[in-house]
Amino acid sequence: MTRSQLALASCLALVAGPLGLAAGTPAGTAIQNTAQVTYTVGGSQVTTPSNSNTITVAERLDVNVTLQSPPVSVQSGDTRRELAVRVTNTGNGNESFSLAMTSAIAGDNFDPIPSSPAIYFDTDASGDLSPADTAYVAGSNDPLLAPDAFVTILIVNDIPAGLANGNIGRSRLTAQSKTGTGAPGTVFTGQGSGGVDAIVGSSGGTSNATGEYVVSDVSVSNVKSATVQDPFGGSEPVPGARITYQIVVSASGTGSAANAQVDDAIPANTTYVPASLRLNGVALSDATDVDAGEFIAGAAPAIRVHLGNLTGAAGNQTIVFQVTIN
């Protein structure tokens, strides 16, 4: 990192780890050592100091990029879908990193189409792409990170049309030390922070992370309603009244929602009516057994219904259960 590079970079991550952490002793630190020898000659004791050795710690160039997003469900034709990665300076000197993304990766089912711009800083730390996020412009706002500091980056792609359910597309973000990359041990004389030497560390000065989009052409919705019946033939929600809850779950699209499961908590101040659980009109036992539902007793009572791999073709799934007001 020369002075002119420091002046150009505009984004310094000030959140640095405490000295002595993962990145190690900071580049530029001078470590001194002086020994002494004591002896007696002719009855007199003498102490002689040695010469002083000074070692100046060089900068180790290291970076680590980690994926922050699990696989993202998308639909054919989606635009501007983001994946989040974290770029951490694992070296021991302030360092600028250049970023590049590619979505043309072999081994997946489709190539996501990089949006324009395709790389953003997660400026508002929301974890997703939002209007406040700043676009990355190579050479203009390359992130400058202190040792152990990190920055969250979003890579943004469009999803091609006409994909099949389950298709996977991958996209990759690569970060490189601007001082240099190469075989570990490669020396960039005088180009480290503060003018010390920079030496490529075990990462080679470069790192990348690859995220996935999964085409999942299904969406699931549920609609919940309640009716109240009091002991006097009316519908006042008084103690002793019975509430019947109905949840209608439906899937749409061409895919399937695997292992769909509905959990609904028994509201506070009510008590579940035993054996009231039904799915599509068929009674389900309260016990956890081979049928599709159960009542979970305990500190957080709830009903649970297993809907299996739910597709749009299965139609509406209607769940009913009852509670009484305490």
Partner: protein
């Protein structure tokens, strides 16, 4: 720093303990060297290790500190001892201190007291006592078991890892 091929002459006579004597202008010359091990693989794939001056050091490197000393007088020197602090930001490598004909002890209190490793105890924050770890050693002392004869040499060496 440059390391000259010959012995460096002791520059300063600092008679810290006991009466200074004008009759002994430095019988023992001392040289302190910091080196790195470099593994070199030759054309046949045979690896050999050589020592090079420690100039470019990054966290994780192991530095070898060697204090060489020689008695240049015509009288023997008695009670020769070498003290070397473990430098800041460095951790002593357990078992690495060596020196011919020396008794080696360590300090964990910046040089006030020295003892063998098994006698060095530390208290944890909850009060439990345990053996001090090598990376907690602050100083090392080598004491020669017999006088250093006129013209004789010795050395005191240890390794430390840059944190």
């Amino acid at each position: 720093m440059t390391i000259s091929k010959g012995w460096l002459v002791a520059l300063v006579l600092a008679a810290v303990a006991g009466p200074a004597s004008a009759a002994d202008p430095g019988c023992i010359v001392v040289q302190n060297i910091a080196e790195l091990e470099q593994t070199v693989t030759d054309a046949k794939g045979v690896k050999s290790v050589k020592l090079v001056p420690a100039v470019k050091v990054v966290p994780g490197d192991t530095v070898i500190y060697t204090v060489k000393f020689r008695n240049r007088c015509d009288k023997p020197a008695d009670n020769v001892s070498v003290d070397n602090p473990v430098p800041e930001h460095m951790a002593y490598v357990a078992g690495s201190a060596v020196g011919p004909n020396t008794e080696i002890t360590f300090s964990i209190d910046s040089g006030y007291t020295f003892a063998k490793p098994e006698a060095l105890r530390k208290k944890d924050s909850d009060g439990t006592e345990r053996a001090a770890r090598a990376n907690e050693y602050t100083n090392i002392r080598w004491v020669m078991r017999h006088p250093l004869a006129a013209g004789a040499e010795g050395y005191a060496r240890f390794r430390a890892v840059l944190e």
